[in-house]
Symmetry: D2
Subunit: 369 residues, 4 copies
C-alpha cells in the first residue's frame, strides 16, 4: 500500500492545530507530508519546512503558488490540509479545489457566510473532494452511537443535551491561539464557532437529525472581549426532538469538556470526550450498560476505527487520525466517505453560527432555516 502525498497550508512554527493534523496523518501510515505553505512569514515557512523534512523546492511562499506548482507536478500532492485561522480557509480551499487537489480543511468552514458560499461553489465545480475536520466524529464510540441511533436502539429521539466547556479564556489572554480566536475579523465568532460548531456537528452526526430552528443567548463575560465566550442555545429538530447546547470558554474547571447525551422513547446514550473510551447505554427499564471502545457488543463502524484492545485507551489523536485514514481510503478508492464530514456539514455549521448571532441580537428570538 503506497502512501498518499499530503501538503499543508498553515501550521508553521508556533501554530497548534497543524501539528495535530500532522500526527493524525502519520498514525496509520497512509500519508507522507511532502509540501507546504506553512506560514505567511517566509523565514518561518522555510524553517518550518526544514523541521518537517519538506524539500526546499516544495516549501512555498504562498498557497496560490503551491496549488499551481503541485498541480503541475507528476508527483504532486494528492491532498492539502488547510490549518489556518478561519478567515484564511476560503482562499486556499478554492485554489486547491480549482487545481483539482483534494482538500482537508479545519473547521469551522469559514469566517463569514460569503467565504462559505464561495467554498461551496468551488466544491460544486470541482472533481476534488472536500473534507472538514470535525474530528470528534472520529471517536469510535461516536460512530457506534450513530449506528445505534440509526438502527433504532433509542427509539424515536426526544431530547439532546450537548455541551462543550473550556476555561482557557476565563481571563483576558494574549497568545497566538487566543489572539486570532478572539478577533472577529479572523474568527467570525467566539465560542460558538471554535467549539460550539463541534458540539453542534457531533449531535447532528450522531442523531442524524437536522436542526430546524434555534434560539441563542450569547455572552462576552471578559471585559473588552469582542466575541462570545459563553453561549446558551436551544434547538428544535426534525421530527420533534428538542435540544440544549452550551458552549463556554470561561467555565472554570473545564478543560475540554465535550459531552453528548441523547434520549429517545426506548433508550438513552451518554458520552464525554475526556474519557472517550466508554459510553453508557440504557434501554428503558434495564440496567445501564457501559459500552467500551472495542468491547463487547460493538458494531462495524466502531470496530473500523479501533487499533488496540479495549481497556487500552485511544484518545483525541486517534479519533482525528480516523478522519485522515478514511480520507485516504476514499481518495485511493478503497472506501466510501460514510463517516466523513464534508461541505454540507460545513455549511450547516455556518448556519448554526449565524443563526446564533442573529437570535442573540434579537433577544433570543427563534431563527428558522
Amino acid at each position: 500500500m503506497s502512501r498518499l502525498k499530503l501538503g499543508m497550508v498553515g501550521g508553521g512554527q508556533g501554530a497548534f492545530i497543524g501539528g495535530v493534523h500532522r500526527i493524525a496523518a502519520r498514525i496509520d501510515g497512509k500519508w507522507d507530508l511532502v509540501a507546504g505553505a506553512l506560514s505567511s512569514n517566509p523565514e518561518r515557512a522555510a524553517a518550518s519546512a526544514v523541521e518537517l523534512g519538506i524539500a526546499p523546492d516544495r516549501s512555498y511562499g504562498s498557497y496560490e503558488e503551491m496549488a499551481l506548482a503541485e498541480a503541475a507536478r507528476t508527483d504532486g500532492i494528492d491532498a492539502v490540509a488547510i490549518v489556518t485561522p478561519n478567515h484564511v480557509h476560503a482562499g486556499p480551499a478554492i485554489a486547491f479545489l480549482n487545481a483539482g487537489i483534494h482538500v482537508i480543511c479545519d473547521k469551522p468552514l469559514a469566517a463569514t457566510p460569503e467565504q462559505a458560499e464561495a467554498i461551496r461553489a468551488a466544491v460544486a465545480a470541482s472533481d476534488a473532494r472536500f473534507f472538514l475536520t470535525h474530528n470528534y466524529t472520529g471517536y469510535p464510540l461516536m460512530r457506534q452511537a450513530r449506528a445505534m441511533v440509526a438502527r433504532g436502539d433509542l427509539g424515536k429521539l426526544r431530547v439532546i443535551q450537548a455541551e462543550y466547556a473550556q476555561d482557557w479564556l476565563a481571563e483576558e489572554t494574549s497568545n497566538k491561539q487566543a489572539d486570532w480566536r478572539t478577533d472577529p475579523a479572523q474568527s467570525g465568532a467566539g465560542a460558538i464557532g471554535d467549539i460550539g460548531t463541534h458540539a453542534y456537528n457531533l449531535l447532528s452526526f450522531v442523531s442524524g437529525l437536522r436542526t430546524e430552528a434555534l434560539m441563542a443567548d450569547l455572552q462576552s463575560f471578559v471585559d473588552g472581549r469582542r466575541v462570545d465566550d459563553n453561549a446558551h442555545i436551544m434547538l428544535r429538530m426534525q421530527g420533534g426532538a428538542r435540544g440544549m447546547l452550551w458552549a463556554s470558554q470561561v467555565a472554570v474547571g473545564n478543560e475540554n469538556s465535550l459531552k453528548l447525551r441523547i434520549y429517545g422513547d426506548k433508550g438513552g446514550l451518554e458520552w464525554a470526550q475526556e474519557n472517550p473510551n466508554v459510553m453508557t447505554l440504557t434501554r428503558f427499564g434495564e440496567p445501564k450498560q457501559l459500552i467500551t471502545r472495542g468491547g463487547a457488543g460493538l458494531g462495524e463502524g466502531a470496530a473500523g476505527g479501533t487499533r488496540i484492545p479495549p481497556g487500552h485507551p485511544e484518545g483525541y489523536l486517534e479519533g482525528f487520525a480516523n478522519l485522515y485514514s478514511d480520507a485516504a481510503d476514499v481518495i485511493a478508492g478503497r472506501g466510501e466517505a460514510t463517516h466523513l464530514p464534508g461541505i454540507e456539514a460545513g455549511l450547516d455549521g455556518m448556519w448554526f453560527i449565524s443563526a446564533c448571532q442573529q437570535s442573540s441580537s434579537a433577544n433570543g428570538a427563534w431563527v428558522s432555516r
Copy 2:
C-alpha cells in the same frame, strides 16, 4: 432535650413522600409523630394511624378538624407536616397557620398562583413559622457551596448549569404517584413543578442570586400527557449571570440526576445529587479539588449538617433530616432559619412555574418578573 410533637396531613398507606418526611423527622430524634389526618379515606386514615403508632383520638378525619383539635390541646402538636398533592397544600397550610401551629410543607408551594397567594397571606397574618421542604438544600455540600459562593471563592458569578433528569415517566404510566403528578388540576404543572422547582430553588440557594427573567421551551413527549414532561429553560440572573436549566422525566437512564454547576470569574463548583458526598472545586489555574462531606477544609454550614465521618456516605434522607432538625431548633428557640427555605422560596418557585408556562406559550419569549 425533649422532643417536639409533629402532626401529619396526608402520607397514609400507599403514599410516598409522607414516609420520607417521617424518616427525616426521626433521624435526629427531635420529633415525635403524635397526630395525623393521614388520608381523605377514613378507613385508610385509621389503618395508617395504627401502623404509625398514633393514638386513635389523634387520628383525624380532616385537616380542619385536626387543626382545631390540636390547637385546643395543652399537649397539641408543635408543627404539622403537609405531604399531600400540590392542590391540597393551601387548605391545610392556612388552617394550621391560622391555628398558630407551625407548618412544614412539601413543595411546590401550591398548584395555582391563587393558592400560593392565599398561603402567603396566611403566613403574613400568623405568628407560626412556615417551612418548605426543598430538601436538596439540606445536603451538607450544598450548604458548603453556598458558603463558598458567599465568601467569594468563585469570584463574580457568570454561568449556572442546573439540571434534574429522571426517566420514570418515559412511557404512559398509571399509579398513585404518577396519576396526580400528571393531572394538571392536582399538580398545576409537570416536570417543572415536580423537579424543576427543586433545581431552580437549589441554584438560587447556592448562588444567592435572584432570577430576573427566563424563557422556556416545554414539551409533553408522551402521547396524551397533559403536563410538561421535559423542559428547557434559560435564565438571566441578577448581576449579569446567565443560566440554563433542564428538567426531564423522560430522559432514559436517569434516576434522580440533579446536578448543579456554578462558574465565576475565579472558580467553579460542580455537584451531583446521586453521589452527594463529593463536590469539585476549581480555583482558576489550579488543579481541581474534591471536597468531601466532612472532609478537609469545610466550613461551619456543612459541618453542622454532618453526622458521621467523611467516606461514610450520608444520603437523601439525611439531607432531608437536616431540614427537620433545623426546623426543630428554630421552633425550640435554639437556632435561626439560616438555611431553611420558607414562604419566599415557595413564591419564587411559583413564579418560576408560571413564567415557564407563560414563556413556552409565547414561543419562548423572555418573561421578566
Copy 3:
C-alpha cells in the same frame, strides 16, 4: 406496630459509634431507647441520659445493675446495644444474655479469644438472640450481591479482592477514638480488628465461602504505635477461590474506602462503599452493567432494605438501620435472621484477627483453621 424497647451500654458524651447505633435504631421507627449505662463515669452517664431523654431511674451506673433491673421490670428492654470498646463487649454481653435480654453488639466480637469464647458460651446457654453489627452487610447492594452469587450469576468463584483503607491514623494521633483503638489492651488489634474484620466479614457474607487459611504481613508504620496500622493478607478459601485483603489506616487520601470485588468463571461484581448505591456486574463477554440500589433487575434481598427510589442515595446510616430493622423483626417474630451476622460471624472474625497476628509473627506462614 408497637415499638421495641432498647437499652444501651456505652455511647455517652464524647463517644462515636453509640450515636450511630441510635440513629440506626430510630430510622425505621421500630425501637425506642429507654434505658442505658452510657458511661463508666457516673456524671457523664447521667448527663448523657438526660440528653437522650432516658428517664433517670433507667440510667444505670453499671451494666450489671442494668441487666438485673431491666430483666426484673415488666416493661424492661427487649434488647441492649453494646457500643463500648472491644475489651468491654464480653462483660455486658454475657450479663444481658444471662438475663434473657437480646444483645446487639458492636464488632469485633471481643479483644481476646478468651473473651470471645465466654460470649459464645453465654449465647449457647441463653434463649436470647445475639447480633453483631457488621453493618456493611446492611447495604442493599451487598445483600443483592450475596443473592447473585448464591444463585450462580458469577459461576464458580475464583478470586476475591477486598480492601478497607483509611488515613486518619497516618500520623501519631491522640483522641478518644484513636486512644483505645491503638491500645492493644482495649482493642486487641489495630487495623485488622477495627476495619479488617469488616472487609473480611463482608467478603464472607457476599461470597458465602469459608476461609480455610490465610497469611498476613502486618506493619506499624507510625513510630511508637503498638498495634498494626497496615495489613496485607492473602486468603485461601473453600472450593479453591483465592483472595487478597488490604486494611490500612495510613493510606493518605482514603476516607473509608471499603471495596469488594468478586470474580467467578461466569461473571464479576465490583462495589465501593463510598458510593454504595451502584455496583457493577459483568457477565463474561457482555458489557458491564451498573446495578443501582432499587433500580432495574434487583431481587428480594435488596428490595427489602430500600426506602426510597433509585437515584436518591441511601448511605451508611440506612445500611446500619437495616440491621436494627431486621433485628426488631426477628425479635418480634416477624422475620428470620437471614442477613444478620451473629455469633458465628463474630467467632470467624476473631479467628481472622488471631490468624493474621500468628502468621505475621511467623514471617507470613500460612495459618489454617
Copy 4:
C-alpha cells in the same frame, strides 16, 4: 530533523504488538520503518513487507541475515524493534547488539533466566543501546508521579498497591495471541510475565524503590492451563515500604485494568491506566486534587511527553510513542535515557518472574534477592 531508520523482527500479518510498535514509531515522525524480518514464514514475511512499504531487498528471511546485511549497508537501520514471542527475544537481540545496532525489545526480557543472562552479556559487550518497552512508563502522569515521589511530595513511602487485571483468558481460548502466551516454552510464565511484569516495573519506576523480597500465590484457574492466570503477590521494599500486587487474566469485567496507588507519610497518589489523563494526589489533611495530563501544576517530565492540551485525552499509543521518541533522541544524541527502561529493568523483571514461581512452589515462602 532527519528521521532515523528502523527495522523490525516479528510483527508480520496476524501479529498484535508489532502494529502497536509501528504506530508508536510513527506518531512523532522520528522514525522510518525500512527493513524487517517480519515472520519466520517466508511468504508471510514478504507479503507483510509489501503491506508496510518495505523494499523487497530489505525484507529478510531471518534476523541473523538481517543483522549482517543491515550492518553492512551505509544506509543501514539505526535500530531494530524486536516484537516476537518471549523465547525469541534473545536470539535477535544478541545478533543486532553484536552487529552494533541499537535494540528496542518488547517485554519481558526473555522466556528463561539463561536467555536473559545472554542478553545481559551482549549488552555489556556492545556499544549499542538496549531499550525495553515497558510502555506504561511512557504515560506522562506516571513520569509526573515519579518526579513527585522523587522530590518528596509523598514523604517517606509506606505502602504500594499495584494491580493489572484482564479477563480475556477467563475461559479456555485458542488464537495466535493466547497460544504462545499460555505455552510455557514460548512465554516462560503466564499472567506474571505478560502483565505482572508491567505492574512491577511501573511501581518500581514510580517509587524509585527496589524490591528486596516477595512472596507469591499463583493460580491456574482454567482447566488444563499450563501457566499462571492469576497471581497474588506481596512485596517488601527497600526502606521498609510494603506492597501488594495482583495480576489476573481471569477477572471478568476487567479489560486492561492497570492501577497504581502509592502512599507515603505525607501524601498519596492514585492512577488507573484506563483513564490515564487524570491522577489523584492527596497531601495529608488537604482535599484530594485531580492532576491532569498537561493541566495545572505539572513538572518537566510530564510536560515533555505531552502533545495536546489537557482535556484532550492522550492514550496508550501516545504513551508508547514517548518511548520511541525518547529512544530516537538518545540515539541521535539529543537527550538522555532518563525515563527509558533498559537492561536493568529487564533483569529485574526476570527476577520478579522467577521469584514468584519459586515462592509459589514453596507454598508462599518469602524469596529474597
